[in-house]
């Protein structure tokens, strides 16, 4: 949280190349000089980026460059890792999420997360989706809860496939369905932002296509940040792309710009498959 001084040195040493959108959108999340340390090891070296509202932003870059680490800063999941330490400032709707008086529990209700491997709870499909609304007290009556569950499943394009077996265990679904169940579970607490860490890496191509389609639909109502190792996926689903390398944010801009006319040599090398 020591900000101003650090940013200067960082931006001068590793200037991020930034290409603004032609029609700029309002900023939802504003990260400034974010550094993350795992014990003595530094994983992120001062990352500064604006995440626009109701847009899909993709994080790409070679494995181990810090994409997941940066993503976990947005809902403070790094707090759960022993020895992890975050410096810098992240504003969500202009409020510092690392401020001492911020309630992490409320933050995580506003910033949902979908993990690499589908991780439904060993409960029924219904209970999986109802979990968040229950702990946050979002539904007062049983009917309201059912309503929330059904709309969340609908928004996650899963309802038609599971409407007859809501009481069956969520772990019995196929991988792709499980992942959409996890998305429904995140949607159920009405977040503003949804973080997705390689959500399709454990899925087959058809399931992947369904999830990508879903992401495109969700964009209308949610700010989405997706980490992906597939550049095709970034190109298909995102409007903005950020390229990370060795803990630095090298270049970010409109997705078509990054994939067609990258400015940095390293970005170009990565896009064209010369390393990674």
């Amino acid at each position: 949280m020591t900000v101003a001084a650090d940013i200067k040195t960082d931006t001068s040493a590793f200037a991020t190349i930034r290409t603004p959108d032609l029609q700029p959108r309002p900023v939802k999340v504003k990260a400034t000089g974010v550094k993350v340390f795992y014990g003595a090891k530094q994983a992120l070296h001062g990352v500064t980026i604006d995440i626009p509202d109701r847009t899909v932003t993709a994080f790409i870059g070679p494995s181990g460059c810090g994409k997941s680490t940066f993503l976990r800063c947005f809902n403070r999941m790094n707090d759960t890792i022993v020895g992890a330490r975050v410096e810098g400032e992240i504003l969500l709707d202009n409020r510092n999420i690392y401020a001492p008086d911020l309630d992490v529990v409320e933050l995580r209700a506003r910033v949902g997360m979908v993990f690499q491997k589908p991780n439904p709870f060993p409960k029924s499909i219904f209970e999986n989706v109802a979990y968040g609304p229950r702990i946050h007290g979002l539904a007062r009556t049983k009917a309201e809860l059912e309503e929330v569950v059904v709309t969340s499943l609908q928004k996650a394009s899963l309802f038609n496939e599971v409407k007859d077996r809501l009481q069956e265990p969520g772990t019995g679904l196929s991988g792709g369905q499980q992942q959409r169940l996890c998305i429904a579970r995140a949607i159920a607490v009405s977040p503003d932002v949804i973080l997705m860490d390689e959500p399709c890496s454990a899925l087959d191509p058809i399931a992947t296509a369904k999830v990508e389609e879903l992401i495109d639909e969700l964009r209308a109502n949610y700010t989405i940040v997706i980490v992906t190792h597939s550049m095709q996926q970034a190109a298909r689903v995102s409007q903005r792309t950020a390229f990370f390398h060795l803990g630095h944010l090298v270049e970010e801009g409109p997705t078509n710009m990054i994939f067609t006319k990258p400015i940095e040599q390293r970005t170009q090398d990565y896009i064209t498959g010369r390393f990674g």
Binding site: T80, R108, M113, N119, F121, V189
Partner: protein
């Protein structure tokens, strides 16, 4: 004399095997492969092959010999006794004669023995030494025969390595069979003695009778010569103490595990875990002291301040201490069960904005519940079978009560008291111990099987 010779025979077998190994190894090392041929096994395997075929047959012979020599010589002595000594006598009386012969042969004489007995004793000594020497000679003969046969089999393409492998796996099977056979033997003897008991006391009376007074009078004409063998009060006492123990240990153990898994950092864990392991390693007799000297008086005084009467050796005191004893057991099994829940479950819950407590209670605990249940059942089976604490701290009188301040007795305590008095081995009093033991065995076995099933099923679910 005979026993000493058997000992020598075992030493001899060891020495012969060692020699056989060296011979086999040397032969193996000297093997010359034909052109284009490779020697299949290393010399060491050739040595081991010869040694195994010398050692194992000789060993089996020595063991069989040691087992059969006694009975065979006994027979021969019995047959050789002069007719005027043995005629018209029962088997038991003849056996007495034989043992007298043995006493005389060993030099233990209490009075001037009958000359026929002395003669028999001399014969006994002579036969025993003949048998012993015969054993040594036969062992050497077998070893020599084996060495020459096996060494002649050694050749460059001989698969000594595979052969040794087979022998080793056979040896391991034999060892595991020993454990299994011993257990089976215990079960069979338990069932046998218990069935002798049920021949005297009807099965239903034992299982459903409400009165337990096994003290049979020494003389048949004594008043109250009959015992009562209704084991229900004993079962109730056992269940009462075990239930108290579980009421103490389950919450404490499970909460400890939750704390260690979800809240404690590395440093706390590094202190608490070893302490729990120490607790698990305290001999139960020490817990017994603790129960008598500290807990029982405390329970008594506390209940007195409440205006309740507590007996000096209350079920509560024994149960509390037993509960403390099984805390580490419950906590370490729950710890395992909670840790086996994948981290992604926990992350998924935390990422939805659940607090750590909500995560533990709503996600980790339900997911780990089968494993924890299995742990609790194992703990229950330990509590039911636990002997030392209750033998020291619980009572001896079988009262039919569920008042924890009363004195009750348990199955294990009764087994100990029934078997430690001096009374005949075939009285219902002593045999009742086996019947109780059988019940105990069946109950703990059932609990263990169910518990292990649950735990295993749970592991598979997440692996």
């Amino acid at each position: 004399m005979g026993a000493i010779l058997v000992g020598y025979a075992l030493l001899l077998v060891a020495a012969l095997s060692a020699i056989a190994y060296v011979l086999g190894r040397t032969t193996g090392a000297r093997l010359k492969p034909a052109a284009g041929e490779k020697i299949h096994s290393l010399p060491g395997y050739h040595g081991a092959f010869v040694a195994v075929w010398v050692g194992i047959p000789a060993l089996i012979l020595v063991i069989l010999w040691a087992g059969l020599q006694g009975p065979v010589i006994d027979r021969m002595i019995t047959a050789s006794l002069p007719a005027e000594l043995s005629s018209g006598k029962s088997g038991a009386e003849v056996a007495l004669l034989v043992s007298e012969v043995k006493n005389v042969a060993a030099g233990r004489m209490f009075s001037e023995p009958n000359p026929a007995i002395v003669a028999a004793a001399e014969r006994l000594n002579a036969w025993e030494s003949i048998a012993g020497w015969a054993l040594l000679v036969i062992v050497v003969a077998i070893a020599l025969g084996s060495i020459s046969i096996t060494r002649s089999k050694l050749s460059p393409r001989f698969r000594a390595r595979n052969d040794v492998e087979k022998t080793i796996s056979g040896l391991m099977i034999a060892c595991s069979v020993v454990a299994i056979l011993t257990t089976l033997g215990i079960v069979v003897s338990l069932v046998y003695e218990a069935s002798a008991f049920f021949a005297m006391v009807p099965f239903h009376e034992f299982l459903f009778g409400l009165k337990w007074e096994p003290q049979i009078a020494l003389r048949a004409d004594q008043v109250a010569g009959q015992g009562a063998f209704g084991a229900v009060p004993v079962f109730v006492g056992t269940l009462l103490i075990s239930a108290i123990a579980l009421v103490v240990s389950v919450p404490v153990g499970v909460f400890t595990a939750m704390y260690l898994v979800e809240y404690a950092d590395e440093r706390v864990r590094a202190v608490v875990k070893p302490i729990l392991e120490i607790l698990a390693g305290i001999p139960t007799v020490v817990f017994g002291f603790f129960a008598i000297l500290v807990v029982a008086p405390a329970v008594r005084e506390f209940s007195m301040t409440l205006g309740l009467a507590a007996s000096p050796n209350s079920a509560l005191a024994a149960g509390l201490v037993m509960g403390i004893m099984i805390i580490p057991f419950v906590s370490s099994l729950s710890d395992d069960a909670l840790k086996a829940v994948p981290r992604s479950m926990r992350d998924g819950s935390l990422a939805l904005g659940a607090t750590p407590a909500e995560t533990v209670v709503k996600v980790l605990l339900p997911a780990a519940l089968p494993g924890i249940m299995g742990g609790i059942l194992l703990a229950a089976s330990r509590a039911i079978g636990e002997t030392m604490i209750v033998a020291m701290a619980a009572g001896l009188i079988a009262t039919m009560t569920i008042n924890p301040l009363d004195s009750v007795t348990t199955v294990t305590v009764q087994i100990v008291t029934l078997l430690t008095g001096d009374s005949e081995f075939d009285s219902p009093k002593t045999l009742a111990a086996f019947a109780l033991g059988l019940v105990l065995f069946v109950v703990t076995l059932t609990l263990n099987i169910i518990a292990l099933r649950i735990v295993r099923h749970f592991r598979e679910q997440y692996e």
